[in-house]
Symmetry: C2
Subunit: 377 residues, 2 copies
């Protein structure tokens, strides 16, 4: 994997770059649609590629390990072959899901985490080594280290202890990853994850440790878990000041359109979040004019296009009234259109952000657009 | 509306034709995807038009009357404007839904049918005149007469009484329809519906009556309601022998791929059915090799394409194993792909049937393909 910075903003830490992977190039900053089980909920792969122009999607190790299972994915020849998506894929480590979804989890620092499947209650162990092996079988271009994502709020003592375990696991992940090779004939790369909750001292230590490992890219985890937005930006800021400028920085699980622009300004290159698809399914859509609750009575006979400024054909062909009708009537077309629209908007957002960085007008543009994007209608 | 027969099969009553409407031409035989509430469940309008190449869709008067309501549709400028579908639309009369979905319905021959909404229990009256007015407001290119669709089994006495009411209502529908004009500047046309349950004498009387009204097209209703398939074909056969050759014949709510081919052979030109979308949502897909239950364990590691002979990109890009995984995991992409696939298959089926009619090889082709299409895997 190679990363090239094409342009640095002079008035913020925003940068425009290109990540080269075995499955193609990714222009940054980028948003990665979440394909939990291999497919992005509500969006055909064809639309993901040709309509939304997604460049990389994210798969969830925890979910894919349970269904369809690594046996099936291996037999298919890896996730790209299994899901029919031939562009880059990133997989998370399963750490987040083990702690948020599974039952009766038990952390044993030397072993890993024992947990029960949220589907059938079956018992499993995720160790740093096992998670590397699973991600080798899945065959993602970018694989993530196994970590504990601390909740918010979280005492300093617990956060420090957890960070120490995460760093211990990180070293084991690297040892395993570097002593194995990809199963499918192309290169994979491993990103460390910087944890440390909302504590400056812990974030600094974790970022310095990650940096010392000299990897192709780095992730910042444990943000957007309920903390005030100012703390999120503060933690991103600290981490981005330490993590090397020569590698992409991935802020995990973030966020709203405003969050994304603010974090781009702090030096983040990669984002993922379930928000565009999850909120899209529920009737909340993100537009250049702000956030629209499409179930609202006010759209009942508003026959203006969903979003006239959008590049998406559906946003121009269909009216707000029709979209509202679909949601209110429980038609699956509503969630489909909402997901397609939101992902298209997120990809448009990072594409325009990149243009503005290239043109040298990013900060001014961001300051003008942020108050509008945050509007709720 | 004009109908031209382009070619008659010499060994069956199958024919290839063209229906001209204000919203474009329809080559027949045709299958009409069902867009109950204005949109076809699980399929984007763009895919309906460009991918599946649907030429006409069906809307449900009962559903659209309740949600979004004729007020909203009128204000939008008709259903084509409201749902963004600019090709022909046919609306059913609501008769079938009033009898199958609504609560506490009460037939009063002179008034119509009082019923309670299945959504909120509110009371409504559908009279022949009101149903014509609603369909004028919806603005479908082809509107259907208000009828009672008798259940199966059904005593001769009830079937005859019901048919008499349907014919009385039909005359009232025609009177109202012919004394009004379209609201949106284009022509609409009204099809009578031939009822009569499974009784030859009633079907003959009903078909003769319909024929005497000299309309642009005719529908056969009250089949595919649970009767043996031989009775369905017998009733279609009787009706098609009587209904004029110069007008399109629409068999309502039919059916499986085999049903469609058999009825084409009997002289039917138009079909609609929820089967491709409903079964597609549930994991049953129709292919040139037969019917596949995609939830079956046997597809777990079958990485062959969903359907190699299909014209649909998704059928070639995605494997049976991936599609099974989506259904089993409860991902909405499964129902989406299943619906898209099935509708594409139904449209392919009638398109190939038309080619075979044009080439003069329809009957031979049908006899070879029917046993294969009926296979269950």
């Amino acid at each position: 994997m190679f990363f090239t910075v094409k342009k640095k903003d002079t008035r913020s830490r925003a940068r425009a770059g290109v990540i080269q992977t075995a499955h193609g190039n990714i222009e940054t900053p980028i948003f990665m649609p979440v394909g939990t089980l291999g497919g992005v909920k509500g969006v055909l792969t064809r639309d993901l590629e040709a309509t939304i122009k997604a460049r990389i999607i994210l798969g969830n190790t925890y979910h894919l390990y349970l269904r369809p299972g690594t046996g099936v994915i291996s037999k298919a020849g890896g996730l790209h072959r299994f899901n029919g998506w031939n562009k880059p894929i990133l997989t998370d480590s399963g750490g987040f899901q083990v702690f948020s979804l599974s039952h009766r989890r038990k952390i044993k620092p030397e072993e890993g985490v024992w947990f029960q499947s949220h589907i059938d209650g079956s018992r499993h162990l995720f160790s740093p080594e096992k998670v590397m092996d699973i991600q080798r079988q899945i065959g993602a271009d970018i694989v993530m280290a196994f970590d504990e994502c601390t909740p918010y709020p979280c005492e300093h003592e617990y956060a420090e202890k957890s960070m120490n375990i995460t760093q211990h696991w990180l070293q084991r992940c690297i040892d395993r990853f570097d002593s194995t090779t990809g199963h499918y004939g192309y290169e994979q790369t491993l990103f460390p994850i910087v944890q440390g909750s909302v504590y400056r001292d812990l974030r600094i230590r974790a970022a310095e440790f990650a940096k010392s490992l000299n990897r192709d890219g780095y992730a910042i985890g444990g943000v957007s878990v309920g903390e005030p937005v100012e703390l999120m930006y503060e933690m991103t800021d600290i981490c981005c000041q330490i993590l090397p400028e020569t590698a992409p920085r991935y802020l995990m699980g973030v966020g709203t359109p405003v969050n994304i622009l603010e974090n781009i300004a702090l030096g983040v290159d990669m984002f993922d979040c379930v928000m565009p698809t999850r909120n899209g399914r529920n009737g909340m859509i993100f537009t250049w004019n702000g956030i629209l609750n499409m179930r609202n009575e006010k759209w009942k006979d508003d026959f203006s296009p969903i979003c006239a400024r959008s590049s998406l054909m559906e946003d121009k062909v269909h009216s707000k009234a029709f979209l509202r009708h679909l949601y209110v009537s429980g038609e699956m077309l509503g969630p489909m259109l909402g997901s397609l629209h939101n992902l298209n908007f997120y990809l448009e957002l990072v594409t325009v952000a990149r243009q503005k960085i290239m043109e040298g007008t990013f900060l001014e543009w961001k300051q003008n657009i942020v108050p509008v994007l945050g509007n709720k209608m």
